[in-house]
């Protein structure tokens, strides 16, 4: 039970921090440098990286671990609109898609979940992130009924968000190791 609470705390916290960074720091920069881009969606969406890494590490438990964080972020962005059916649907899509893709991959014989006796494959995790991004972008656009430019922006944002989050984590570990 305590492990569940810890997983939920860290996964949701990571999602909220990644979302705040994306919307409060990166989005204003994007608006400054890509002002002519028609979509308001982020081109560097770090929360997708959190979703993918949480699902990779926690499996189906990531659904419940991410749920509070995803709900808080949707509530911060949309206020009471968070209870609209389209938003609730988007929340469900956000938390379930990545674990579902990992389990489908496992079911077809491509088990990517971490195991102590083998090396993880970051490119494979990236691939699942990209597959899921197509899925989430498509489903979210159906839920919100948005334009094609939004769909493309979601895709770019998710894929670059996952890559740069992993890169940032890599350097964070390296810095922590040097200081430790």
């Amino acid at each position: 039970m305590r492990r569940w609470a810890t997983d939920t705390f860290y996964a949701s916290l990571a999602y909220i921090v990644a979302s705040l960074l994306t919307f409060e720091v990166l989005a204003p920069l994007q608006n400054m440098f890509f002002a002519e881009y028609p979509s308001r969606a982020s081109l560097l969406f770090l929360p997708h990286g959190v979703r993918v890494l949480a699902a990779w590490l926690l499996g189906w438990r990531a659904v419940f671990a991410l749920l509070p964080g995803v709900f808080v972020v949707f509530a911060l962005l949309g206020g009471s609109d968070v209870f609209l059916p389209s938003r609730l649907m988007a929340i469900v899509i956000a938390v379930t898609s990545v674990p579902a893709v990992f389990y489908i991959c496992k079911w077809v014989g491509w088990d990517l979940f971490p195991r102590p006796d083998r090396k993880p494959c970051w490119a494979c995790v990236m691939a699942v992130g990209i597959i899921t991004s197509f899925l989430v972008s498509g489903l979210t656009n159906i839920a919100f009924g948005s334009a094609r430019a939004e769909y493309v922006a979601f895709l770019i944002g998710d894929i670059s968000g996952l890559f740069f989050l992993m890169l940032a984590l890599y350097f964070a570990f390296r810095i922590a190791d040097k200081r430790g």
Partner: protein, 96 residues
């Protein structure tokens, strides 16, 4: 998986990016031995050469290559020989 092993797995994933991105500090064999040592050190403070050489990640490595890589890991500070015990026991350190 415990909290520490989640961090270890995450760290292993990040390290797997190294080679592709040209950021690596260790050779593939050194890395495998280090992964194995990290894994084994979770259950015991010290890692024995005997346990290391039998680890799944290291089984295919020839003995001379294994011992060369082990020596290199000690020189680079990833492993150190245990001061209190017999030779053949190592303490695992975080990469510098």
């Amino acid at each position: 998986m415990t909290e520490i092993s989640k961090l270890t797995e995450l760290r292993k994933l990040m390290q797997s990016m190294e080679r592709t991105l040209g950021l690596e500090q260790l050779s593939p064999v050194e890395r495998d031995i280090y992964y194995a040592a990290e894994e084994l050190s979770k259950s015991d403070d010290e890692v024995r050469t005997f346990g290391l050489i039998e680890h799944t990640l290291v089984q295919s490595v020839s003995r001379p290559t294994f011992f060369r890589a082990l020596k290199s890991l000690v020189e680079k500070g990833y492993l150190s020989q245990s001061g209190t015990a017999n030779r053949g026991r190592y303490i695992v350190h975080a990469p510098k």
